[in-house]
Amino acid sequence: MQFDLLINAIIAGLMLGGFYAAVTAGISISFGMLDIVNIAHPGFIILGSYIAYIVSANFGIDPIIVAILALPVFYALGTGVYGIYFQSFEKRGQDALRGLAFFFGLLFVTEVGLILVFGVDYRTVDTVYAGGSLKLGIMEFPLRMLVPALVSLAMFAALQLYMSRTFIGRAVMAVSQDPQALELMAVDPTRIKRIAFSIAMATCSMAGAFLIVIQPVLPSSGREYIGRVFAICVLGGLGSLPGTLIAALLIGVIESIATTFYGPSWAPAVSFGLLLLTLAVRPSGLLGR
């Protein structure tokens, strides 16, 4: 029986990890590659959840499809936020400290804005697959977790292909290493960063929809993800998408096992403890350069 429990905890953890990968993808791009500490990222994910919630509740469209339709909106939002950030901090060469405070404020404003509009009740969506589950022997895959995890992996694969195969994707990788060299290649680093940041923001739309499929959402739900996403991002070795995926799966499994055997109230400490440990022992992460 213990063995069954362990197997299912690992499976649940892998699916959770797939979802965490989607949540962290944006941070890996903005923080890992561009050095923009977008601590407001989880706040925008919750915004994505609420957009998926409104549209899905009013028109009965599946939240994940809503998220795909909302991608351009989030892309534009990212362009806007990066515009402000660039004009106010990057261009002036202001220290990262103020940029950090800016995003912290943004996180707070997003959260409180959502509270003022929607109140502090839990919101959920109904999907056709919410109750179903797939059974293979003793293994059980609830579709509520499986569908987001699979879509998330697909999104991750697409991102990785884009980053490693296209010109702009490679330029994004390059801008994190040497913006000046990029300028010599007649590429505008600011434009590349703007595109990359907007892509990072667009992933919030998807991650938000996954989140509300998996569990009910509160305006303040974003907070518990702040540490988690940075833990995964740092553990994965900043800016490495494959590293992020591995770290996400790892943290998903560890959290799931901790929840199954020690109770859910210990789960948050796992990822944060792991983050502290990583930072103290190996700050360059698993697949760090």
């Binding site: 990262a96 912290f104 707070f108 944060f272 930072l279």
Partner: protein
């Protein structure tokens, strides 16, 4: 101005404030005033590490809560022996606890670059909160009740006693901040903020200085938190670890100005008073929204805060 003289003046101002409040004689004034003073201490404590050294601490609420929970802990122990420690002693203990936490955090994380340090403090906050939630002796997630006496000899209302303690702590923390700013320590902190690598290369003992900063800053947070259970009467992790403390701890010095001890004080007095007014007149959600918007507005438009604006204003007048 020398430190003793400064301390005397500050103490005189504090005494005048207390007497004025007593003459008005409204207990609500003490109640609201306590929160404002508490934020002056929190903002000053944050600024010692954040403003002077340039290390952003997102986990202020964690340090504050360690102070809060050390009081709950000793209160619960005291109940078994029917003896309660006086609050000033509890404040010192809370300060020592948070100071030790600061030392531990410093050892663990201060070798990290600025941004990683900030994230690590956030992680620390959640780890501590998880431990407190799972620790049933201090109430766990259910929370703990601490019934304060309603009256106290000499002063009368208990809230006046708490207010007075916080006022003393404000004087103490401002003196500490100002002394650091004007000593070699402050110069060392500034070198870390401006260019840590160069400072290290020139022989500044950066790690030791940063440890001093985390300990002093942590201890002040803890001392600010220690009387809190007596103020609020009922503590649960959600209120002790409230993210609002972390946000305010950053927003207030940023709005006031991070370079001098005046900035956090001005920022805390203005912002916290504003929050009290908005909480009463509109809603507590709106007050957090305005805090966030002000923080964003100030970091974009006035990076040096109100103090910087004022200095620019006076310098501009001199030139013309």
């Amino acid at each position: 101005m020398h430190t003793p003289k400064f301390t005397l003046i500050l103490a005189a101002v504090a005494a005048a404030l207390f007497i004025a409040f007593r003459l008005i004689g409204n207990d609500y004034l003490f109640f609201a005033g306590y929160t404002v003073l508490q934020y002056v201490v929190i903002a000053t404590a944050w600024n010692i590490l954040g403003g002077y050294c340039g290390y952003v601490n997102f986990g202020s609420a964690g340090f504050f809560a360690v102070g809060v929970y050390s009081t709950v802990f000793f209160h619960n122990i005291g109940q078994q022996f029917d003896f309660q420690l006086p609050i000033p002693v509890l404040m010192v203990i809370g300060g020592i606890m948070s100071g030790l936490l600061g030392l531990g955090m410093g050892y663990l994380t201060l070798r990290l670059r600025g941004v990683f340090f900030a994230i690590a403090t956030l992680a620390l906050l959640v780890v501590i909160e998880t431990f407190v939630v799972n620790w049933s002796f201090v109430g766990g997630s259910r929370g703990a009740y601490i019934i304060p006496p309603s009256e106290i000899p000499v002063l009368g209302a208990f809230i006046q006693y708490l207010f007075l303690l916080m006022l003393v702590l404000v004087v103490l923390s401002l003196v500490v901040a100002r002394t650091i700013e004007r000593s070699n320590l402050g110069v060392g902190f500034a070198t870390i903020r401006d260019d840590e690598l160069a400072a290290e290369a020139s022989g500044v003992p950066t790690l030791r200085l940063k440890l001093i900063a985390t300990v002093v800053s942590g201890a002040l947070f803890g001392m600010a938190g220690a009387p809190f259970p007596y103020y609020i009467g009922y503590v649960e992790p959600g209120s002790a670890f409230n993210l609002a403390y972390s946000v305010n701890a950053i927003a207030m010095p940023m709005i006031g100005g991070t370079m001098t001890w005046v900035g956090p004080m001005v920022g805390a007095l203005l912002l916290s008073t504003l929050q009290q007014v908005i909480t009463v007149t509109i809603s507590s959600a709106a007050n957090l929204l305005i805090t966030g918007l002000l923080l964003i507005g100030f970091v974009i438009l006035a990076p040096k805060g109100l103090v910087g604006l004022w200095q620019g204003f006076t310098a501009g007048r001199k030139q013309s």
